[in-house]
């Protein structure tokens, strides 16, 4: 059948549209970042491909990015001010130099988005469909939040610390304001970081100051911090309630949680991720592979990682990197030389210093948070032809 002029015209339009779409994808480059999995460009939501994870510290050039609202205009370090107000004896405005003059601490800590792995939940839930790469491990340096607050004097009635950044939403969308119990804010591992992996924090990660709530959910790591306010009660804005809350009691997949049973996410669960071999890759019989990955456990330390290359029938302990620290991940590896051809399901299962073990099934929840099921990849081992 001869295509009508109309069909030809439609086909031409489709090709032109596909070209435009391709050109748009090609054109998106995020300064300072390697090629990242793009979930959104305005604001930026970028995932790290698992093949990039080959070092204990994640370089900032491949560190994932989660922006809730567009980032603020670049902050002039000379004009920057941090307001400390609320339940304090002496409200303050601090300069960047004031913060740099306080004792500087360094904490290596893993930063993970609450929604890392959301894309694996079934039924699907709304939100960024992250795979394995909404996580990174960095060395954060700056004054302790407790030292910053001590300058202003926290009132005994304060029970929480509220933090706000320089980012502000469009229209009537909620501002990204977070709060944490004062006890966590005063923990020696809670910092107002000015540096990430030894360099001033890049703009996209919160220049000049980012809250580091070691071991806690990524949403607590407020970027571009411009205000710290001790308060009597937890902030109740959208990003504290209902966002970043997890049902206290299990919900059937696809069900609804009772709002009264939703609790703020704080410390992160125990989890491991396989970074090599690549999922669904092939290898030749007779060759050897190293099964590799990382494991972390929120405020705990990783005690052990077990790996199965037979779908979970048998497990072997992986070799773990040193040091063993709270807050920071450990790399792990296991040499593997399959004896027969075929398809292999490789699993990793982490155990932490509190005795928590990764579950076989991640608990489905309406917002798709805290995916931490035993990780799983597949590899085909083929005879040399």
């Amino acid at each position: 059948m001869t295509p009508s002029r109309r069909d030809v015209f439609a086909a031409l339009l489709a090709v032109a549209a596909a070209k435009r779409a391709g050109a748009a994808d090609d054109a998106i480059a995020i300064p300072g970042k390697r090629s990242m999995l793009l979930h959104n460009d305005r604001p930026e939501d970028l995932e790290t491909p698992v093949s990039y994870y080959d070092s204990w510290l994640t370089p900032t050039s491949s560190f994932y990015v989660r922006q809730h609202i567009p980032r603020p205009a670049p902050i002039d370090p000379a004009a920057y001010r941090l307001t400390v107000n609320g339940l304090v004896s002496k409200p303050l405005e601090l300069t960047l130099a004031d913060l740099q003059r306080l004792p500087q601490q360094t904490v290596p800590a893993t930063l993970e988005c609450a929604g890392n792995g959301r894309g694996f939940y079934r039924p699907q839930v709304p939100g960024i469909q992250w795979g394995r790469g909404a996580i990174g491990n960095a060395e954060w340096s700056g004054p302790r939040v407790s030292d910053v607050l001590a300058l202003a004097g926290v009132a005994p009635t304060a029970k929480f610390l509220e933090a706000d950044g320089a980012d502000s939403p469009a229209g009537g969308a909620p501002d990204f304001v977070r709060s944490m119990p004062l006890q966590k804010a005063l923990d020696p591992a809670t910092l107002l970081a000015l540096r990430m992996n030894g360099q001033p924090i890049p703009d996209i990660h919160g220049f000049p100051a980012r809250l580091i709530a070691s071991g806690w959910v990524g949403a607590s790591f407020v970027k571009w911090v411009t205000r710290l306010s001790p308060a009597a009660a937890r902030h109740n804005g959208f990003f504290m309630n209902p966002a970043y809350r997890y049902p206290k009691y299990g919900v059937p997949p696809g069900g609804a949680a009772n709002p009264a049973d939703l609790e703020p996410i704080e410390g992160m669960p125990v989890k491991s991720t396989i970074t090599a071999p690549e999922d669904q890759s092939k290898m030749t019989l007779g060759s050897a592979a190293t099964v590799r990955g990382f494991a972390w456990a929120g405020e705990e330390a990783i005690e052990r990682v077990d790996v199965s290359t037979d779908g979970g029938s048998t497990w072997r302990a992986a070799k773990l990197s040193e040091p063993k620290l709270r807050f920071a991940w450990r790399l792990w590896q296991l040499d593997w030389k399959p004896a027969e051809p075929g398809y292999y399901s490789i699993l990793s299962r982490a155990t932490d210093s509190a005795g928590r073990v990764q579950p076989v099934v991640a608990q489905w929840n309406p917002s798709g948070y805290l995916w931490n099921a035993i990780d799983r990849i597949g590899v085909s081992v083929e005879k040399q032809s």
């Binding site: 995020i30 300072g32 793009l38 460009d41 305005r42 039924p123 469909q129 229209g171 009537g172």
Partner: protein, 99 residues
């Protein structure tokens, strides 16, 4: 009687035409109401049931988004990005790391 059947048939036909127009209207509504605050990738990368899309629209409306043609937008999202559709292929950014 025949006239009534014809009338009903023509109503169905009109509805079918409207259904086509509905999705086009929905796409236009998306371009009008969503992109002021964010690009559309975050929408198009999701695969949700109609009820879940409806809750997303309610959330955005609650934040001040003026959705003039909610019915069309909901139909468009469900038809194109419903949970019966396959997941989209991953998209990557261009390498822009400093060397």
């Amino acid at each position: 009687m025949t006239g009534r059947v014809l009338l009903i048939a023509s109503v169905f036909a009109a509805n079918a035409l409207c259904a086509d127009g509905l999705l086009e209207r929905g796409e236009k509504e998306e371009a009008r109401s969503c992109v002021a605050c964010h690009s559309l990738r975050i929408v198009h990368s999701q695969r949700l049931a109609q009820s879940a899309w409806g809750r997303e629209l309610d959330k955005m409306a609650g934040w001040g988004t003026k959705i003039a043609d909610r019915e069309a937008l909901l139909a468009y999202l469900t038809a194109n990005f419903g949970n019966d559709k396959p997941a989209p292929a991953p998209v990557t950014t261009k390498d822009a790391a400093a060397r």
